[in-house]
Amino acid sequence: MVEYMIKVRVRCFAAIREIVGVSELFVELPEGSTLMQLIHLLHGQFPQLQALTGSVLFSVNREYASPDTRLAGGDEVAFIPPVSGGADA
């Protein structure tokens, strides 16, 4: 049986970028994978990501997404650690 693969783009910002070392990476996953499976894969590759404190959210195609979201080829994914834009106040 052939396993078809999809490729997603992972964009890395702030603390994530410093851990991963680049501002984006492309990851291949079996078709039908969920966001959760991608997260586990990245946790394996970059163990420091597991040490992030606060509630890290995730986005798929620039919208907040839940871990059971099924990914498609070309999707843009990002880790969203707690945001702190705006005022220093």
Binding site: A14, S84, A89
Partner: protein, 140 residues
């Protein structure tokens, strides 16, 4: 006018962008880099943004505002890159026929921006640095 920029922020262009002939009031908010955070001396801040998503989320905030108050126009610009003490990190301007709507919408805009727009801040102190999430701020 919704933007993420690495240039210095100034209120005047935002005010001019939001004023309509129907506007009786313009409320603005400027977030500024403070000298001290949680008792530590700040050398500078560094802001990073997920630009495309941040602008989408800002647009979402303007939609929320229009659902709540009668306003004329809303402008939000967030700066990224290295910011010195006294420099502005975010500028918001809201125009409305009446002052209460402009003031309420402006306060709402900065609250929501801090909650949900993907922008991050690294504090660089005299003795270290850290990417800061809201959970660790004394005042969020």
């Amino acid at each position: 006018m919704l933007d993420i920029t690495d240039q210095q922020l100034s209120l005047e262009p935002l005010v001019n962008a939001v004023k309509r002939s129907s506007s009786g009031a313009v409320a603005t908010f400027l977030g500024v880099v403070r000298e001290q955070t949680r008792g530590r001396q700040v050398r500078y801040l560094e802001y990073d943004a997920y630009r495309e998503m941040a602008i989408l989320k800002m647009r979402g905030i303007t939609d929320e505002i229009r659902g709540k108050w009668r306003v004329d126009e809303i402008a939000m610009v967030h700066r990224v890159g290295r910011l010195q003490i006294g420099e502005a990190s975010v500028a918001i301007a809201v125009s409305a026929p009446h002052r209460r709507e402009a003031l309420a919408a402006c306060a709402y805009a900065i609250d929501r921006l801090k909650e949900m727009v993907p922008i991050w801040k690294k504090e660089v102190w005299t003795d270290g640095e850290e990417w800061v999430g809201p959970g660790r701020c004394e005042h969020h």
